[in-house]
């Protein structure tokens, strides 16, 4: 067909008339590189984020921490690389001259291209969060989805997309995209490492990195998580994103600056472009974004350890507050309405509060956020609770309390009248896996029982920490092992070596302890109970020897 014999009627079908920017955005979305890599991103998301989340209990704050620590690393690497690829398109494909002859302002043109990548990445991120939260919602027994991690995630995906895109615009090349991705991955790793070891005496700028270590297992359960650090992170990343978006408005001149180098080319930054108004707006955005980021940086430097969040024994601070942003409302403990059972079966439901105990049934209580493990807790504690029921100092109830108290990690123990065994998810559950979503293995169960018996056998004045190797003397250890055997649990064995009190437990002593424990377990339940009633005070005082055990 001759070009001059074109039938004018042979035209494209009429379409809904959209604004120019919407049609251009449609093209950018349709021909964006992100959809091609979405399957790979989805696979990484499943194998890292989802599987990591599945390994944590369905407690909202804990599950949401996976967004910052895992999901964002994956998404930011992809976002930076793909945005750099999109940003470098004009340079890579040598269309700079061609697009430069069009009246569309450079800023507007680049903004639409950036929006194409950003829309895809944010959609993917929100979809990922939705998957994570829906799975959590189906398992969680208390609380609701925290939104601040999502805001921080949106801010990080946005800022790394803008960083990648701007890098691609200014330094177009085939290696720009992988280098941008590697750079962002390195930034994440550095930020993670720095944030992980923050102590009270550290400079706290690493808090600007969204990545941090896993939170306490009951984080956000007994007291709210202060959003101070999240606010600063959003402000910091948002500020950088706004500033870089302004830089895109100066892109034509900056390209010359990048290629020519030297301060002499700086004039080009302000000479080129689409008129003084866009350039002035760009400069204002750069200034405002820079100011926001600088403010956030300064605020991060004023962070102080959050007494509610606590500190590990290694000194790592588990939560921070920013005084200028801190609200006293977030210091108020959340009302605790435990979910409890009794020895005769489950008495309450999540959020129903304590149930009155009648009779001798041992009652196990968990925070409703951990109600999914209530039966396992009861199954672990009820048998040993029955073994010591009615004895002086024997707990009538086991109750979960916050993992931190007064800024330090709390231990388990027996206190109050009637005596109550208090335990924390962090101290007991974390150690033995009772709250980690692990199957109720014999070991984790035995460990939990040991935590209760340690506290009982050492008495209120000298409670040992839970776990094997607690500072029990030989007789106490033998009684504990015997009680656990009688309760149907395997003994965790007798520790050999130097114990918490600095005493050396020899293998010979351990063998003797095992023999005594077997003898004690072989007694009828009533005989064990009667012996304990008669000798408990002496046993706790450490004046009973292995030979004196029945």
């Amino acid at each position: 067909m001759s070009v001059l014999s074109v039938p004018p009627a042979r035209l494209a079908p009429s379409r809904l008339t959209l604004p120019r920017w919407a049609r251009a955005l449609g093209l950018e979305l349709k021909r964006n590189a992100v959809p091609y890599l979405l399957p790979l991103l989805a696979a990484v998301f499943y194998f890292d984020t989802i599987r990591t989340a599945d390994g944590t209990p369905p407690v909202w704050t804990v599950r949401a921490s996976v967004i910052d620590n895992d999901m964002l690393v994956e998404f930011s690497v992809f976002a930076a690389g793909l945005a750099a690829w999109a940003g470098s398109r004009e340079g890579r494909r040598k269309t700079l001259d061609l697009v430069a002859t069009t009246p569309r302002a450079v800023w507007a043109r680049l903004s639409v291209a950036l929006a194409g990548t950003l829309c895809w990445m944010l959609l993917a991120f929100i979809a990922g969060v939705a998957v994570l939260y829906i799975r959590t919602a189906l398992q969680a027994t208390w609380g609701g989805p925290p939104l601040w991690p999502v805001f921080v995630g949106v801010a990080e995906v946005t800022v790394v997309t803008v960083i990648g895109f701007t890098t691609g615009v200014l330094f177009p090349g085939r290696f720009t995209a992988p280098l941008a991705a590697i750079g962002v991955a390195a930034l994440n790793m550095i930020g993670f490492r720095e944030a992980l070891g923050l102590t009270a005496s550290s400079s706290t700028y690493a808090l600007l990195s969204p990545s941090r270590g896993a939170p306490l297992i009951d984080s956000g359960v007994f007291s709210p998580v202060a959003p101070d650090v999240s606010i600063v992170q959003v402000m910091f990343m948002g500020g950088i994103a706004v500033a870089l978006f302004g830089v895109l408005g100066l892109a034509p001149g900056l390209r010359q600056l990048a290629s020519a180098g030297g301060l002499g080319s700086l004039r080009a930054v302000f000479a080129d472009g689409d008129g003084w108004l866009p350039r002035a707006a760009a400069v204002i955005l750069v200034a405002c974004g820079g100011a926001a980021a600088a403010t956030a940086f300064t605020l991060a430097g004023t962070a102080q350890p959050d007494p509610l969040a606590g500190t590990t024994t290694g000194g790592t601070v588990l939560g921070w507050t920013i005084p200028a942003l801190h609200s006293a409302a977030s210091d108020q403990p959340l009302p605790v309405l435990h979910d409890c059972t009794s020895g005769s079966g489950r008495q309450g439901t999540a959020g129903s509060g304590f149930q009155a105990v009648s009779g001798a049934g041992f009652q196990a209580c968990v925070h409703p956020a951990f109600a999914f493990d209530l039966d396992a807790v009861a199954a672990a504690l009820d048998p040993v609770g029955a073994e010591i029921a009615g004895l002086p100092g024997a707990p009538v109830r086991a109750e979960q309390v916050a993992s931190t108290r007064g800024g330090v990690l709390a231990g388990s123990g027996i206190s109050g009248n009637p005596p109550v065994f208090t335990y924390t998810a962090e101290q007991v559950g974390n150690m033995y896996g009772a709250f980690q979503g692990d199957p109720d293995t014999a070991t984790s169960r035995a460990g939990f029982q040991q935590g209760l018996l340690n506290a009982f056998l050492t008495g209120p004045s000298r409670q040992a920490g839970p776990g094997p190797g607690g500072a029990l003397d030989a007789a106490q250890q033998a009684v504990e092992n015997g009680l656990m055997t009688a309760a149907g649990s395997p003994s965790l064995g007798t520790f050999t070596g130097m114990n918490m009190d600095g005493k050396v437990v020899t293998p010979a002593t351990a063998t003797a302890v095992s023999a005594a424990a077997r003898r004690f377990a072989a007694l009828p339940a009533s005989a064990r109970h009667a012996w304990l009633a008669a000798h408990l005070a002496a046993l706790r005082a450490g004046s009973i020897t292995l030979a004196q055990l029945p």
Binding site: P7, L11, T17, R31, R93, T95, A100, D274, G275
Partner: protein
């Protein structure tokens, strides 16, 4: 006059790519000839408003391109095909041309019709939905021409437009240039003197950044009678003028 150049200079370091060019162009097809490095592409890029001149005055479509508002208006009415056409391989023919129609700020409602017309004018209707990565070099050249004419430009700048086209396509394209030149100023930079002879009403020959000849193709042919070297009369005129300019 759609193009008015007065003593235009453009230098890259110590190299004067364009050295004192004066030119006034109205409607019609204007051929720009010259050897490699003569300054044709630099002149075309200045006309396309992507390269500011180092000195001299330019007025395009009665406007001063140094003023942002005027430059934007010029660009709305401009079509440009660069010597090396960059393209986005994942775009289809229609999408690529539509993209540039949008960048040229055509009314949104007019874009589909204009894109379809441009596609048909370069005879790519059968490949309208093909990805650019699947097209041959000649087809890509036609895509480039289509994006240049999609906005029905008043000033059309074509740098080596027929490079890569087969003889039949070149014949068709010359017809297209003639029809476009009836209402617009078409500036064609080329090495192929037969394109100039067949399509251009006026021709200029550049050498070392200067215009050393300006006239009709017949006048250029006449310069070569008994002097120049080449197979065709226009080629002999071309070589004769160049020899004279260099001597």
């Amino acid at each position: 006059m759609n193009v008015t150049l007065a003593d235009i200079h453009r230098s890259f370091g110590k190299n004067n790519a364009v050295d004192g060019v004066d030119l006034q162009l109205g409607a019609g097809v204007f051929g720009l000839l010259g050897p490699n490095g003569a300054g044709k592409t630099s002149l075309l890029r200045m006309l396309a408003t992507v390269l500011p001149p180092s000195g001299g005055e330019i007025r395009l479509l009665e406007r001063d391109p140094r003023r942002p508002a005027a430059r934007r208006e010029i660009r709305r009415r401009l079509g440009y095909l660069p010597q090396n056409l960059g393209y986005y391989p994942s775009f289809t023919v229609v999408e690529f041309i539509e993209y540039f129609a949008l960048l040229k700020e055509m009314p949104s409602a007019a874009v589909p019709r204009a894109v379809a017309a441009a596609v048909e004018r370069v005879d790519l209707g059968a490949k309208a939905k093909a990805k650019l990565r699947t097209l041959s070099g000649g087809m890509l050249r036609r895509v480039g021409i289509a994006q240049a004419i999609v906005n029905d430009p008043e000033l059309l700048l074509l740098d080596e437009p027929t490079a890569g086209l087969d003889p039949e396509q070149r014949v068709q394209f010359r017809s297209l240039m003639r029809s476009l030149g009836e209402g617009a100023t078409v500036v064609v930079s080329t090495h192929l003197v037969e394109d100039v002879g067949a399509a251009c009403s006026e021709v200029a020959l550049m050498s070392a950044g200067k215009i050393v000849f300006r006239g009709t193709p017949d006048e250029l042919t006449a310069r070569g009678e008994g002097h120049g070297i080449g197979d065709a009369p226009l080629e002999r005129g071309y070589s004769a003028v160049l020899s004279a300019a260099r001597s």
